[in-house]
């Protein structure tokens, strides 16, 4: 057994240990902390699997924004643990455990039975990369070959926003999402909120820009920008915009909107819907990505902020 394999086994064991802790621990807050740590470590697995684009996404979501989302909820639900009585009886849990392990076992069998050599689309993706002029194959798949999925996924994000907003109370509609944060303007948090975003914005834009040819992209960059914005909000230096703001709405649809416009352009003038003319492919894709990074940053930030709570007039 090589030292690399030992390392992989240790990594897998730590990750699994965290997963078990997350499921088994009685207290919700601890489970949440466990899951955040799990998210951080899964990013390591992705690097090990040579899927750096996914590792970036996982680091941004699993360890970062997702963690904050879950921790925030856990903190707000601290006093809501009266469900112990609802814990199913031992027999039910035993049944569930047995059946879940059977499913996992079936999955293991299926994984071990996967064919060798494995089918792959990597050569096809590389062979067609000329059409976009971008060297990162994952970006090519996301923005060209499977552009439809990416566009629909952005609509999913928009619907999540609509869903979250629709939970507002009627008087709060049109107001600002989330609680107003106030912090000592000379405190540590405010200090960090002034310093870190400048670094974060550079990193976010770098990750986005490098995504054309190396791992990275609009989503990962957008997630970083969103977290920086939230940091500033949490430090009380700025406030969330009211949901009725037309400008905000425009930013929220800019990404899928531009995607759609370019797609329709391809339908009317070019060869097909979502097809890019050869000479313009790279600038068009980058343009869509610029719109998308704005949309993603705003969407992710607002998803974390929650439903409108404070009405505009006050």
């Amino acid at each position: 057994m090589s030292i690399a394999t030992v390392f992989e086994i240790v990594l897998a064991a730590v990750v699994l240990g965290l997963a078990i802790w997350t499921i088994a621990v009685p207290e919700t807050y601890s489970a949440t902390v466990g899951f955040v740590a799990y998210g951080l470590l899964v990013a390591l697995i992705w690097v090990r699997l040579d899927a750096v684009d996914v590792a970036l996404t996982e680091a941004a979501i699993g360890g970062g924004l997702g963690g904050v989302l879950l921790l925030g909820a856990a903190a707000r639900l601290r006093n809501a643990d009266p469900t112990a009585v609802e814990t199913p009886c031992k027999l039910v849990r035993l049944c569930a455990a047995a059946l879940s392990s059977l499913i996992a076992a079936a999955l293991v069998a299926a994984i071990l039975l996967l064919p060798d050599p494995a089918p792959t689309l990597a050569p096809a993706a590389v062979a067609k990369a000329w059409a976009t002029g971008l060297a990162n194959p994952v970006t090519n798949v996301l923005m060209a070959f499977r552009a439809m999925d990416t566009m629909l996924e952005k609509v999913v994000l928009l619907l999540a926003i609509v869903g979250v907003w629709s939970l507002a109370s009627d008087p709060a509609w049109g107001g600002r999402p989330g609680p107003r944060h106030e912090a000592d303007p000379h405190g540590v948090l405010a200090f960090l909120a002034r310093l870190l975003p400048s670094v974060g914005i550079v990193v976010g834009i770098y990750i986005f820009w490098t995504g054309a040819d190396h791992p990275g992209g609009a989503f990962q960059g957008g997630a970083i920008l969103a977290s920086m914005w939230l940091l500033v909000v949490m430090a009380g230096l700025t406030d969330t915009p009211p949901v009725s703001s037309r400008r905000l709405r425009f930013i929220l649809v800019a990404g899928p909107g531009l995607f759609l416009v370019v797609g329709i352009g391809g339908l009317c003038l070019g060869p097909a819907f979502l097809a890019y003319p050869l000479a313009l492919a790279k600038p068009l894709i980058l343009g869509i990505e610029v719109a998308m990074i704005l949309t993603i940053a705003a969407t992710l930030g607002l998803l974390l902020a929650g439903a409108p709570e404070r009405s505009e007039q006050r």
């Binding site: 199913p88 039910v92 849990r93 049944c95 569930a96 059946l99 879940s100 059977l102 499913i103 079936a106 999955l107 069998a109 299926a110 994984i111 039975l113 996967l114 064919p115 494995a118 089918p119 689309l121 067609k128 798949v141 060209a144 070959f145 499977r146 439809m148 999925d149 566009m151 629909l152 996924e153 609509v155 999913v156 928009l158 619907l159 999540a160 609509v162 869903g163 907003w165 629709s166 939970l167 507002a168 109370s169 009627d170 509609w173 049109g174 009725s244 037309r246 709405r249 649809v253 899928p256 759609l260 797609g263 329709i264 339908l267 060869p271 097909a272 819907f273 979502l274 097809a275 890019y276």
Partner: protein, 592 residues
Amino acid sequence: MLLHPTALEAATTTGGFLLVLSIVVPVSGVLLAFVLGDRYVRLVAFAVVPLGLAIAAATLAILPQSDGPLVYLLGAWPPPLGVALRGDGLSAVMLATTALVISAIAVFATTDFCPAAAETRAPFAFWVLLLAIWGALNTIFIGGDLFTLYVALELLTFAAVPLVSLDGRAETLRAALRYLIFALLGSVLYLLGTALLYGLYGTLDIVLLSRRVSAEAAALVAAALMTTGLLAKTALFPLHLWLPPAHAGAPAAASAILSGLVVKGSFFIIIRLWFNVMPALPGFAATQLLATMGTAAIVFGSVVALWQERLKLLIAYSTLAQIGYLFLMFPLAFDASGRLESDEALAGGLLQAVSHATAKAAMFMAVGSIYVALGHDRITELRGIARARPMSLLAFALGGIALMGVPPSGASLAKDLLLQAAEESGQWWWAVVLQAGGMFTAAYVVLVLAHALAGSDVSIAVTGPASRNQDLAALALALCSLLLGLVPWDPYLPVPFGTAPKVFGIESLSKLLLPVLGGAVLAILLSPWPHPLASSTTWKALASAARPLRRAGIEFGRLVERSDDVLRQWPMAGISLLVVALLLAALMLAAN
């Protein structure tokens, strides 16, 4: 006209752009409505509705002239790298149904969700989500790639869940959360199967997959997981814990969308999976399992429906039963070659889905109007509604009659086709279930009508205004469902020539009377509610004769209701889900 594995459509066909438009138009509507907000949301929706109808009509018109399904390669990239949209007869029929039902719902909802000058919450969310559901469903009906279907499925869920909790009451929030989490569980299982299929065959394109799949263990595991996930989203018994509270708690227009259309999305993907991707894989036993669950759904759904106090819950449970009815097509499609191939069964199942979509949406709308009129929807206190809201009650009745399978309704044609398939494949037991299903449907419709029509001379205080638009929308949809049997289906669905029902004659009379009488008997035996005619003397004589039977019926009903309560507990539903997945996998493995 159906997707066929032998013909590789490597190029976009003429008219393929219609497929793109059927996605792009509603999605643009969503974006536009979101940005404009205020009072423009409804305006955008009403601009999209005629466009959508026109696109669906154009698709229906152009498909028979094309010598295969319509195909559109997105970005001109051929699969497996790219994603194709494909529209066959099934897609065209579903596209048209969706366009029709959404239009009717839009008309119905104009007054309920009237945007004010200053933007308000509910109308904004409703109109945006309505368009989003349209876009998601259209994508599901024409998506040619299993992962695109996954994204569309999630789009559908994300649009449907907020509709449930639109009025913000605690119980609807709870219903929405249950729905969301269970639906997410379902879609993760679907995605799991997708991952395995990609690992096996290196593509997720439906046509390419259908040519590559073979009966390998991993493929069967994938099929079982995907099917189970979709069943959870379709709410087939016993995975229905989320459906009754979600469908009954939502505002009327939203319920109509959820019950009529949303559950059809995941059902359609099951059809694609079993009939198009892997017709040879499931095997006899797995199809029997699906139909058995369907039968249980019919019994449970109908009996529990008869036990409901509230009309909306009754209809929600009726949806449960009708979903079960849809799954009877699977064993009947199984022919001697060991593949899912029977055209009658496929056409019958899809027609049933179409009839249910139209009829159920109409019924929910009608109940919405009744609710507004009475201020409640308690079944035992419906008397007098026939005079106060004759149009609403008529829409409800027509929808119910259409669902029972009375000619010339679509359900009747569907039943004929399925019965024929049962006869051809020698599975007489499903013929029995098909007949019984019609009677069960009749039972709760008759029950409601009996309560509503009893004492129609009583005049009641009406709390809310009547809306002509709402009644017309409901009535139009109900009529549509009732007349579906007269539509010439053969360009789109493999309906054998000459099966169009005769509207008049002894045969059709028996088709009317059989379910109605059977349903009346069932309603009397199984419903626990005091009957409005209970004071008449003939009734008393009858009742004393049938007392032991009725008592047994009541006991049975109570048993069913209790077990339904248990099965709707979260841990039980979760365990059922895993059991279904494992059973399906085991049966498929055994068959191959």
